[in-house]
Amino acid sequence: MKFQDVTGSAVADAVKRVNAHLDALSTQFVSRRALLELVMLGLISREHVLLIGPPGTGKSAAVQAIASSFDAVAFEYLIGRFTEPSELFGALDLNALKEGQIRPVTTGMLPQAEIAFLDEIFLGSTAILNALLKILNERTYRRGQYSVTTPLLSCVAASNAMPDDTALAAFADRFLLTMFVDPVDDESLSDLLRSGWNLAGPGAAPDDKLGKELLAGLHFAALEVDLSEVREPYAHIVRKIRLVGVNLSDRKIVKGQKLIAAAAVLRGAASAGPEDLWPVTYLVQSKAQQDEVRELLDSELKHSHNPVLSQSVVRATYGPTAHAAHLAAKATALLEDGPPLPSDPLHEVWLVRLETMLTRIDAAFAPDSLPEQLRALRATIQAVLEKQSRPEPAGESTPIRTDEPA
């Protein structure tokens, strides 16, 4: 597979496969599509991802699922206060030690991993975090005079909260992307229960694994993306963010361009445009500040769009894309919520709620700018309402009238 041309068919095929892969994975994890997308963005841009959220929100399971869906060497570990460095990096080779050499046995350990998942990352000792820092920054593992280049593509780390300690915060800054993971909302609870039950049975994992070469191809395609059009808008955004007191290190700002380029590739574009600036929200490492930045950049990020990373865009922006997704989710839930029989006393209430949804959709989108998914949902709602307003043919049961004057 050759990837020289960003707009070439090989890239288009790879993007299509990534999208199908995310579709398959997200059916297993309710409301976690954005998390899966962000891990994918990290893998393609070869940057690290930090997930912050309470226990039991599916962070580990989702990352494990995406890691095992690649044909790549994965390493995962739950770090505790008493975790020894050797548990992550390998114990010393005793034969080498007899000869006076310090050489760890890294087989199957973090220094040989291509995808790493480290849970409770901030509980690691200073020795662990120092060794990790070098692996994350320089892709090098060093122990004494022993040094080896690591093949790490991306490290995904998780924690219950961002650390208050400044030294740990500096370590956290090495993770370019930060996502705050909340428990699924009340509306998705039944989906969560269904999906959780299905997971206990035979898995519904993607049929085939994605190869490393596919990720590498997309990575190199991203490096070819023309960023000239977005450099000044990006600088403007960074200035605006800094103006409200959000700290973004120079390192992060520079590396942020890799995310923009990868977003452009997944959009099928050879040049990054205003559609691809949304990853900047994920550079911010505070939940409150991410919310603030979303609102602050309302007009700058209003063109955000990505057919593959759709949910990441929704979470990163505060504009029509996010609004359309919100309306679509509500409309879908409402349509599924309909009483089975028109004679049900709640049927009339349901129809009125449907009409209200129609009002909300029409307030946000002119007919010619309706997103495709919302267009289909709107048509369904309208069809249901029109069907109800037609008189019932003679001989059939009479439902509650909804067109009766007050």
Partner: protein, 155 residues
């Protein structure tokens, strides 16, 4: 005071119709719909009517509201301090200034009831200087709507 267009992502909470015969047209349209929409409150003048959303479940904390779909009506949102604006339009000032500015506007013009501002945009302009003001001083259920003498003022 300037107004500007913005992304129409605000939650719709009311509708306004203006022009000759608007209250009668809306009353007829609402009467042809489910009686549940009769719980929506309205205020009107000779040439305008505003319809506020009704709670879907009175007394419930769900916050869900009901509003009919009437093609000719303009959707409104509560911009704070009971000042309603058309969806997709906001005060052309930094966000943190908008609230205090609206409060000052209320005090300056002794506006005590909820009010609707409908800015007048020139064709193709993204910014407006003038707005029509409608005062919602006598809100009552639309189910028992009766067209009223002019209680609003165009400014």
């Amino acid at each position: 005071m300037y107004w500007r267009r913005t992304a129409p992502v605000q939650p719709v909470g009311a509708l306004i119709a203006t022009g000759a015969g608007a209250p009668e047209r809306v009353a007829v349209a609402v009467a042809a719909k489910s009686r549940l929409f009769g719980a929506c409150r309205c205020a009107s003048g000779p040439n305008w009517i505003v319809l506020l959303a009704a709670p879907a479940e009175p007394g419930s904390a769900s916050g869900e509201e009901l509003l009919p779909s009437i093609e000719t009506m303009v959707p409104l949102y509560d911009s704070g301090s009971s000042i309603w604006l058309p969806v997709g339009i906001e005060l052309d000032v930094p966000g943190h200034v908008a609230g205090p500015l609206m409060d000052a506007l209320r005090r300056r013009h002794a506006i005590e009831s909820p009010a609707v501002f409908v800015p007048r945009f020139e064709e193709g302009w993204e910014s407006a200087m003038k707005a029509d003001l409608y005062l919602l001083s006598d809100l009552h259920p639309v189910g028992g709507h009766r067209p009223e003498p002019n209680v609003g003022a165009a400014a």
